[in-house]
């Protein structure tokens, strides 16, 4: 598993940083603040995550890991949990570098005092992306047009995550820090995570039967 991380994580990271640079020129701004910053950050992270979920099951598919797993005497949900954790860790690893890079490159006020809140948003959003991404990755890996199908399915499904995460982090990026932190967006993210985790838990078995 950790060997494969070297395939996805650097690619996701390079993608994120390149996208920040693209946004700098596309928006023609030296620095961003408030909701614009939040939007740029979350759209970039989401697109980087799509790269990761595209690759998530490729090795199993190509090297027959699914058959090996089905023969092993473990619950099938274990594969889902493991894969979702992997994707979650990928995302955290990417963000460990991408968030400071974002702060240095584009963010104007710097998220100094709001760091704990930002961390909560990041963790909840990553959990949602990981759950949905694992499900979509598993759906997409058996199709002929994986590279096309996975982003097409994942992006609309993850729109609520982008809405909630950027609404929640927009006040944190505000210059004065005047706006109160909207805790209900964290609730929305948590609810989204819970619903999709249950849903994925219920349907994932059907993606494995041979």
């Amino acid at each position: 598993m950790e060997l494969r991380a070297f395939e996805s994580v650097p690619a996701m990271l390079m993608f994120s940083v390149s996208t920040f640079v693209l946004f700098h020129f596309g928006l023609d701004r030296g620095s961003l603040a408030g909701d614009l910053a939040a939007g740029v950050l979350w759209v970039t992270l989401l697109l980087a995550a799509v790269l990761g979920m595209n690759r998530l099951f490729v090795a199993e598919h190509e090297q027959g890991g699914f058959d090996g797993f089905l023969m092993a005497p473990v619950d099938r949900t274990a594969l889902f949990v493991a894969k979702a954790l992997v994707l979650f860790c990928f995302l955290v690893a990417v963000e460990l570098v991408a968030l400071p890079a974002f702060a240095v490159l584009l963010l104007e006020p710097g998220p100094g005092q709001a760091l704990p809140e930002l961390l909560a948003v990041v963790v909840l959003a990553d959990a949602g992306i990981a759950v949905v991404g694992t499900l979509i990755g598993a759906l997409g890996v058996q199709t002929r047009a994986r590279d096309l199908i996975v982003p097409l399915m994942a992006l609309p499904l993850l729109v609520p995550v982008v809405i909630a995460a950027s609404e929640a982090s927009a006040p944190l990026f505000e210059a004065g820090g005047a706006d109160p932190f909207p805790g209900r967006w964290l609730m929305v993210l948590a609810l989204y995570d819970a619903v999709f985790a249950l849903l994925a838990y219920a349907v994932f078995d059907f993606l494995l039967e041979e």
Binding site: L135, L139, Q142, T143, R144, A145, L148, I149, L152, M153, L155, P156, L157, V159, P160, I163, A164, E167, R184, V188, L191, Y192, V195, F196, L199, A200, A202, V203, F206, L207, E209
Partner: protein, 243 residues
């Protein structure tokens, strides 16, 4: 398997209801005080939207039944429900755009949460057919499509909630589309239009089911007569091809 039962009665009922709804729209319901004649597109647009969303969710319910029982007919039901809902959804987006242009002066308004969430749902379901098409094994195609239909069906209400919350922070609900503020004659017209549209959906759904299952049965009869050699190979398709 017969899907054609009750089709005649249903067809007549939906023809009568749709005609009646249009008659009510043009001759009975009053013109809206603010928006005038253009508001009448509401009697097409809103029932279309409600029926399309219910169709999407129904597709998810049939998908659950398919996964539980393994009955391929349920996959066909789910596929046809989503297929017809997609067609209706195109109608919803077009009529909604026309209405928005007339009422607000813009073809598209991002402030209106219902519009945005419907667009997201539409984009999601637009992947349903490509997903089916890109899986060759028919059994796996049915299974994966069902998983997708369930996830997407659960996503519909969640998405509406998230989008509505995002917008209601800054924008109060100006236009309550199904609200109780509607006067009696408008509400009657709307209800007839809604029932008519639902009836039309069920009729179309049953027609499509009957046609699909008939061609599947025809093919299996031909195979029995001529053997596999006598049959032209099936073209790859997003639709279920076996029962």
């Amino acid at each position: 398997m017969t899907f054609g039962r009750g089709l005649r009665a249903l067809s007549i009922a939906s023809a009568v209801l749709i005609t009646g709804a249009f008659a009510l729209v043009f001759f009975y319901a009053p013109n809206d005080a603010d928006q005038g004649f253009i508001q009448k597109i509401f009697y097409v647009h809103v029932p279309l939207a409600i029926v399309a969303l219910c169709g999407f969710v129904a597709g998810g319910v049939f998908a659950i039944r398919h996964l539980r029982s393994g009955d391929r007919a349920d996959d066909l039901r789910s596929y046809v429900a989503i297929h017809i809902s997609l067609v209706l959804a195109v109608g919803v987006l077009i009529t909604g755009s026309i209405w928005a242009r007339a009422a607000w002066g813009h073809w598209w308004v991002w402030d209106e949460p219902t519009l945005v969430s419907f667009l997201i749902v539409f984009l999601l379901y637009a992947c349903y057919q490509p997903l089916r098409f890109s899986i060759e094994d028919p059994e796996r195609q049915a299974r994966y499509a069902s998983v997708f239909a369930i996830v997407a069906g659960a996503f519909v209400p969640l998405n509406f909630m998230a989008v509505r919350m995002a917008e209601s922070l800054t924008h109060p609900r100006v236009l309550s589309t199904t609200g109780g503020a509607m006067p009696g004659d408008m509400r009657l017209t709307f209800l007839v239009a809604l029932v008519g549209m639902a009836c039309l959906f069920v009729t179309l759904w049953k027609y499509e089911l009957a046609s699909k299952s008939a061609s599947i049965q025809l093919r299996s009869l031909k195979r029995r007569l001529a053997g596999d050699a006598g049959l032209a190979p099936l073209a790859r398709s997003a639709a279920p091809q076996e029962l």
